[in-house]
């Protein structure tokens, strides 16, 4: 199997792990699934770095491993442990419908990516389509999940999608660009975790359907 085909195939694993992040029952398990997904992402970066002889991407591998495989899942896992990891409330929509919407997002992404005529994108169009769909899986997670921390994971999925798109289209981008995005994303997760914990402490719930005082 060529490296290009390997990258395109590995992105399939991203779809699988995304659906696991969204659908597993315990939010702590979702955090672990996210870590697993980020590991797949890191492997994709590694293959891309080797294939394109892109030195910058090796640095991305290191920073993505630290922030996405270790730091963010550890922070989320720890926060969920502190609040007793309550079983996630019922989803807004059922699993089947959720998978159906994910399939539509994937199809639309393939159609859209087909319109792009960028030289760098040509060999990786399937992977690029998955990266865009991945972004929408994150949106799906936020819209369908009622647990505050699962919504944070939805944001993480979106961020992974953007990160993969950047790696596929501009793998030689200066490390500073990637560091800026990764640092900001980590800050966002930390602040959302702090706010989530504050909400749990004050209101005793992580269920967003309980946050419905403000209307109109």
């Amino acid at each position: 199997m060529s490296n290009v085909a390997l990258v395109n195939s590995l992105t399939g694993l991203l779809i699988l792990t995304s659906l696991l992040v969204i659908e597993v029952k315990r939010p702590r398990w979702s955090a672990l699934m996210y870590s697993l997904q980020s590991l797949v992402l890191v492997i994709i970066f590694l293959v891309l770095a080797y294939t394109n002889e892109a030195e910058q991407l090796y640095l991305w591998v290191i920073s993505a491993f630290i922030t996405k495989v270790v730091l963010v899942p550890w922070l989320l896992y720890g926060a969920l442990t502190r609040v007793g990891d309550p079983e996630k409330p019922r989803n807004v929509i059922g699993t089947t419908l959720s998978f159906f919407i994910a399939a539509i997002a994937l199809t639309v992404s393939f159609v859209v990516v087909n319109q792009i005529h960028l030289k760098a994108a040509e060999p990786f169009k399937p992977a690029l389509a998955v990266s865009m769909a991945h972004f929408f899986f994150g949106v799906l997670c936020i819209l369908t999940q009622r647990n505050l921390f699962k919504q944070v994971l939805g944001f993480c999925l979106m961020e992974n999608g953007s990160h993969l798109t950047l790696a596929l289209l501009a793998y030689n981008a200066p490390e500073i660009v990637e560091i800026g995005i990764a640092t900001d994303a980590v800050f966002a997760v930390v602040i959302m975790i702090v706010l989530g914990q504050q909400i749990y402490k004050s209101l005793g719930t992580l269920d967003t359907s309980d946050l419905s005082t403000l209307k109109g």
Partner: protein, 520 residues
């Protein structure tokens, strides 16, 4: 001091003084004085440096700094002016407002220190947005505004404020993630085609190389950018966070969110609109602006009419005004953009006045409900008059500033052939007028509730409003030549990437022509 150092100090001062404010909690007796002193120094210096920097751009053209990562041109200058002026006046009002919160026990020194630390951090992040030339840093800065201000929204720790803070952070972070995706697409495109790929991150360089960019990719990217940063700007239907955050935040924070933050998000959209205009021609961005602008104006007007909560009503009015600015950009051409940017400035001044006055209402009546707030002219007459002026200005009554900018929007719309859209717009503005007329008659007059005493809280809660009123009146009667120069330069930048396009100059006389025909 060179122009570049102005930019650097402009960023360093609020950042450093926010750290001082955070640290002041550890100084027992002096903590409160130091926090207020650091804050006052920060907003005053930011105002002075903003004005000086604007002057420098007017005389010497765009300023660059930090290896071209920082950049200030005519377009950015308009937004810098808003941050400097509104930041100072709302910052001053904050001191009066938080003193009341200290008296009632809502705030202690710890909370005060957190409040001013975050306020100045928020100011720093917004300054970074408008001075950034690096499109990734621009995104990072806008994302940081959410992170800095989310705790300000939830600072009271009440159930409703925590709920508002969560909605704010999750919706805006998701929105800005869309913005990131669009930014990544544009950056990647530029990176692959530019001769010096390292420059692909700089907006000024991308604008020079638009001829080589892939139109399909730019089209897709601009949709992501508009939806993403439009969420942060409060455009309908992505506005869901805005009424909650604006109503639950302390009033000075509501003023900063509405009058400054929304504009920062708009600025980023306009920066990307330049790229879209150059690659795809102006019609693509204009069509999207018209659609989002029109639905925002219509939807917000009806939400406003149904509101009984004064701060939520003001929040929906922000969506309506941002929609109007979008509509003006959708009309396009130098006249439309000129009118849109003038509306952005005018709305900022009026909305900060109204949010500050709503703070005075909260202090006195402990309620935002229009059914309870009665007899302001008896209880707090000065605030009552300020609120009346603000409300009249907001609906576009002459001789206040928004009358002129709304008139320019309608005039440029008619000039561009959007007659029916402008008629619809005028009808909707009647609904907005009705909503605010109800507010004025209901709150100013009537019997003051028995448990509400007479008298304003303190002079610091009135002086900023009085200064804003003067500015609103002056800008309604006269637009300074320097401001016209900046607005013309900004129009040129949005349309062509060049601030010195002679054919982009707007003739105010032409925009005022319909008015001359109406007046006897």
């Amino acid at each position: 001091m060179t122009e570049t150092t102005y930019l650097i100090w402009l960023l360093l001062i609020p950042l450093a003084l926010s750290l001082v404010a955070f640290a002041a909690r550890w100084l027992d007796g002096l903590g409160r004085v130091l926090v207020e002193g650091a804050h006052l120094a920060s907003v005053t210096l930011v105002l002075i440096l903003s004005l000086v920097t604007v002057g420098a751009v007017l005389t010497s053209g765009p300023i660059f700094g930090l290896g071209n990562w920082l950049h200030l041109d005519a377009l950015g200058t308009i937004f810098l002016l808003i941050i400097g002026v509104v930041g100072f006046l709302v910052g001053l009002y904050s001191i009066g407002y938080t003193r009341h919160d200290m008296e009632t026990g809502e705030f202690d020194v710890n909370k005060l220190s957190t409040y001013y630390g975050l306020f100045n951090l928020f100011l720093f992040t917004m300054l970074l947005v408008v001075t950034s030339n690096n499109i990734i840093m621009m995104w990072v800065a806008l994302e940081a505004t959410t992170l800095g201000s989310a705790f300000l929204v939830g600072i009271y720790g009440h159930r409703s404020s925590l709920e508002a803070a969560w909605k704010y952070i999750i919706i805006c972070t998701v929105g800005v993630a869309f913005g990131l995706y669009g930014t990544v697409l544009i950056y990647s495109d530029a990176f692959n085609v530019m001769q010096v790929p390292g420059n692909a991150v700089l907006w000024t360089e991308i604008v020079k190389n638009t001829g080589t960019l892939d139109p399909a990719l730019i089209k897709m990217a601009f949709v992501f950018v508009l939806v993403g940063f439009g969420t942060k700007a409060g455009l309908f239907p992505m506005h869901a966070w805005l009424p909650d955050a604006h109503s639950e935040a302390p009033s000075p924070v509501s003023a900063m969110l509405s009058a400054v933050l929304l504009n920062c998000a708009l600025l980023i959209i306009f920066r990307f609109a330049t790229i879209s205009n150059l690659v795809l021609g102006p019609s693509f961005a204009q069509t999207l602006f018209l659609i989002f602008g029109a639905i925002s104006v219509v939807a917000a007007a009806f939400f406003m009419y149904a509101q009984r909560d004064i701060k939520r009503l003001l929040a929906y009015s922000s969506t309506e005004n941002i929609g109007l600015i979008m509509l003006a950009f959708g009309i396009g051409g130098p006249a439309g953009i000129f009118a849109g940017l003038l509306q952005a400035i005018n709305h900022s001044l009026v909305k900060s006045l109204l949010f500050c006055t709503s703070g005075n209402i909260l202090i006195k009546y402990h309620s935002r409900n229009l059914d309870r707030v009665k007899g302001m002219l008896h209880a707090i007459p000065a605030s009552g008059v300020l609120m009346m002026i603000g409300a009249l200005a907001l609906v576009g009554t002459p001789p206040f500033n928004i009358f002129l900018s709304k008139f320019f929007i309608i005039s440029s719309g008619l000039g561009a052939g959007y007659t029916w859209l402008m008629i619809l717009c005028l009808l909707i503005l009647v609904v907005v007028f009705a909503a605010f007329f109800r507010v004025i008659t209901s709150t100013l007059f009537g019997e003051r509730p028995d448990d509400v005493s007479k008298g304003e809280s303190n002079w610091l809660t009135l002086v900023p409003g009085a200064i804003l009123t003067v500015l609103i009146l002056v800008l309604g009667l006269y637009i300074p030549t320097q401001l016209i120069t900046l607005l013309n330069g900004a129009s040129g930048l949005v349309l062509t990437g060049d601030p010195n396009q002679a054919n982009m100059l707007v003739n105010i006389q032409n925009l005022l022509m319909p008015l001359a025909n109406i007046l006897p």
